[in-house]
Point group: C3
Chain length 463, copies 3
């Protein structure tokens, strides 16, 4: 067996028993996935996944960055190829390096999928590589492994994708018109038309103008185009926006200053500082629109994108070389909060890649401002240890109710139930330690376990 | 029952037994409270506390910031009102939101007071709000709940308040002359006459001149006024100063430079950098005076005060919107330490709101400089988890003897025994893990438990 | 007894049993010590160590900084004296302050040496000071306590020293020619001829020119002198370089820019920024040479050296007043990585004194770049707690195989087996928690325990 019933629960038997009892009450709650990177097209078209290598290795930079770090070339893994020449060969390379993932959450997610979905119970090694490949390939060809069937089998209640303002959302529309009961919603992620350093920024802004019938050559038209696009997303069920800036910097410029800055930025005359200021101002503009239209705002700052120049040049964005940097919130958010921080209708969910901010900035901010909530541990930190650090460092100041449940944030559809299962186990483990410490009664812990797995996320994302 | 005998001890039965045994030896030691924000007037006048809402909700920004973060308005809680219109109504709002405090130290402190002082054993909810209110109101009217009686019941040996150099200390004088045996001492906290960004700085400096008969229009007179005021505080039993600057920056200017800077600052001609430099220089001046007069210096840096502009404008200072920021010590303290760091009579107790400095800067500094000691986890970090992080990150490099026991740092008088109890339990829990790890013998742990609860604090604060 | 069989294993009995079983399989593996500060002369000359005070107190700034922090003067400890006037007196001072080390790793290392090497089983106090002194002095005079005998008794397979490019390596040569089977290798540590802020930098560069027959007055000659010296070190078995810069900053200047900068630096005309840029460029030059000659590069950044001005002036470098500062890697390493980060033959081992970088920067970098590996917890952080933090914060993203086993990094030869023993115990404890969590099978944990204690270090350092 790859999975043990009691995995991730505290080792002390009495605490483990409390954690297990809490978990059994919530393990089967529906999955609410308010933030991730699955594709609406999968559910619109409902085509089978091609093969194990294209399902597990090629799209998942968690996986191939680890192989790359140990000397496996990206070419050998056929990264970036739209069709694979030798998927079984790629799978064998992966299998023979599987021990690199010992102690990582990736290992847990994969083992969960291997056993729970494909019935595999022997460890993946170079010796079992072909057994795995054949058994998985066979199952992937069956109707039970089509995207919609898996969505249902996973017990998903609602699933949000992440989408550009230039996306026509045809797949989302197709899902809505198909009669299928699955709830797949878009998320408004405007980085590519908000961040002047995004490749093709100005052209994208012009496209936005065309799509919306607004003159995006001027500030007012640009903002109107944003507003209209948000409206279009809302019509497809969208409840949230998402902002992946290098920093959390916000600004509160006058209309005139903002207008002039937009002009420079659009003309390509802005230096690094001006581009940062523009992104900063746009966070405040987005917050202002959220006060109007009620979209929940997510801020995901702190990643230096495309850190490896060569890998970026050869393989493009999102290929496993985004590295976190120190991130400031206390001063960075002040202009936005000064302007809008006490607005009753505003909700901003803050994420971080800099865990030193948990106790220092994020918990104190969320423990005071009514508009702020803390997103779950993100990206490099959604490990069991990272989840425990989050609860241990945030709860004392912000409590549980200023947090928003779990995000799987995944590109790997098959990892969704595994990731939610890890989060539920870790939250129950944390709650169990509070019960064992006599800081919480069991009935309170049971209520909280349910909130963390299900209630808070629906409330926080207005789902 | 709200409280369990074994709360906060490690869950593993053998370790719990060690922790419990250590704790039982020290639980009844007198409370030494060298730093806090209770009012001398309470003990001078010995009037009853008015009602539960004014005792527990209104003065405690730990409490109402959490309610505010979840959408309860400050007006509904009557924050900032000198008399309450509807204290029972405020109490009911608080009670119905009590679950927000699950997992926080505030919950533990409150439950301790509810059960130990008021005999309440049912959980506080909207349903028990009135029961609580009535039972507490009744007791508050009795002589046993007057400040002096509580001071004695709590087993307090000495209690320091925090006081402005402009404070005439009449209440402290009254206590000393009253014949009451309680030992309530002032602490010299000169921020308002040292920090040019403090509202009314120049006027306050002039008042200081009047109070001391010095010409505070010039540097030498200003320093003399400080010296005299420190002397006046010492006559009232004061043994320590306290400095709550935004950063830990120090400076070591020449007499001429300092004089010129003082002139600019007093005239209101200083920019942000110059004001920071003035605060920096004043830390070194204060250290120099401490070498002379033996007052122990406390530095509490790193809080961005009054972060929420609207709340500050409407409700004033200290209303729950102070947010920590990254804090540097290694370079910031160097000018002061270069000048005075090896002085045998100097003692500086360092605090932090930036836990990333524990292993990186604070423990290495305190593990070398004879003048430096580390204050306990402060403010947002005086939770069980925060206390454990402190010991786990500081002990390896600074040991136990470069720390100074516990500070309750509270405005909520009734929370004092609860806070000391949490600290004693957590120190015993930490010591028990070292014993269970076979890194410490039980007799050593017992000696240390006593030192952490009682001995080190008296020695560190020269009490 | 000073030592317990089960020390440092988790307290929960089932987890402790797993940890103990893992440990018993690896406790006797040979010691591979790829980084440290023992002296080749000890093994070349094989003279007895003079007395307990000169062995344990005088050379070990871990020890005397703690005494100094509590008011013991450096003079009383005869720090910096080449011969001791009163070694027994120094030992008595140390013994009477031994309780200061409670809870520190220093205590564990010392107790290990006391019991395992000298057969002492009573606790060191003022009362046992003379017993200790006499028993140790007696043993130190025997042949079994000569350096080579201890090397063999410790089970050392290979031991690296740290050496200046100006060092003629005569002791290393003598060891190689002596017929003794011990493997003592130099490490190329060029700080003194690379860092313009090092006292006597220009003179040292000129000496390097003389030693190598290169004209170090120009950039090309200087680089050639480095290349030749690396070659000379390699001939003595050296496999690694080491770089102890204040920051991790790298640069990638053009040949012309670098040449001009070298000229300024050598002439003493460089300001702080230019000196930092020169160090930054030299890291990239060293990496380029490592691509050529295969020497493994170690970067140890982040220490503010000689923080205590007075102590530095009176007692010199390395006297216990080096304090860590915040350290950036993500931006600092980019110039080097842009140039060389994907070179298959390059290996760079990164260390840190800023633990906030573990999850934020170091694990993500090492989990992607093929040239990067993470060094073990270093200096202030090689405590049991520091080792556990390292594994808990690094493994989730970088796995085990991007780490390189343990470095003892010691000046105290007798602490080597103690330090490796602590590291082996802590790694087994960490692995045991993963097994108890059902995240790892026991056979995998056993394989990893062996890798962490022995295999990875040999592979990482090309030994």
């Amino acid at each position: 067996m790859l999975l043990h019933e009691d995995r991730l629960f505290p080792a002390e038997p009495a605490v483990r028993a409390i954690a297990r009892a809490l978990y059994l009450e919530i393990r089967s709650l529906p999955i609410v996935s308010p933030h991730g990177h699955t594709q609406a097209s999968w559910f619109a078209l409902n085509q089978p996944f091609p093969n194990p290598a294209m399902l597990f290795v090629q799209p998942d930079h968690y996986v191939y960055r680890m192989l790359y770090s140990q000397g496996v070339s990206m070419d050998a893994l056929e990264i970036g190829q739209s069709e694979m020449r030798d998927p079984r060969g790629v799978w064998r390379i992966f299998a023979s390096h599987y021990k690199l993932f010992r102690g990582t959450p990736t290992r847990m997610w994969l083992d969960f999928a291997f056993q729970e979905l494909f019935g595999l119970e022997e460890r993946l090694t170079e010796h079992t590589a072909d057994l795995y490949y054949d058994q998985m390939a066979e199952k992937l060809a069956t109707p039970e492994f089509r995207p919609r069937a898996l969505y249902e089998r996973f017990g998903i209640e609602v699933l949000a994708t992440t989408d550009s303002p230039l996306d026509p959302l045809v797949h989302h529309a197709a899902i809505r018109h198909s009669g299928w009961k699955g709830r797949v919603l878009p998320t408004f992620r405007p980085d590519s038309v908000v961040d002047p350093e995004f490749a093709g920024f100005s052209e994208r802004v012009m496209q936005l103008g065309e799509l919306t019938g607004e003159d995006c050559g001027n500030w007012a038209g640009y903002l109107n185009a944003m507003r209209k696009t948000r409206q279009r997303f809302r019509a497809m069920g969208c409840t949230a926006t998402d902002h992946g800036h290098p920093t959390a910097q916000t600004a509160d410029l006058s209309r005139e200053q903002a207008e002039a800055l937009f002009g420079r930025v659009l003309a390509g005359n802005a230096d690094a500082l001006a581009m940062e200021l523009f992104r900063a101002q746009m966070l405040t503009e987005m917050a202002r629109m959220s006060v109007e239209d009620g979209l929940v705002m997510q801020i995901h700052p702190g990643s230096v994108r495309n850190h490896n120049r060569l890998v970026h040049e050869r393989f493009g964005r999102d290929t496993g070389a985004d590295i976190p940097q120190p991130t400031n919130y206390v001063n960075a958010l002040r202009p936005l909060l000064d302007r809008l921080g006490n607005e009753p209708n505003l909700r901003i969910i803050l994420f971080t890649l800099d865990e030193s901010t948990y106790t220092r900035e994020l918990a104190p901010l969320a423990g005071h401002y009514p508009c702020l909530r803390l997103g779950p541990p993100w990206w490099f930190h959604d490990s069991p240890e990272g989840m425990m650090r989050f609860r241990q460092q945030v709860t004392e100041t912000a409590g549980f109710y200023n947090t928003v449940g779990f995000n799987d944030d995944t590109r790997a559809f098959l990892s969704i139930p595994a990731r939610h299962d890890v989060a539920r186990r870790m939250d129950c483990s944390y709650l169990a330690t509070l019960v064992a410490d006599h800081r919480l009664e069991e009935d309170e812990a049971a209520e909280l376990a349910r909130e963390l797995a299900y209630g808070l996320v629906k409330q926080a994302y207005r789902l």
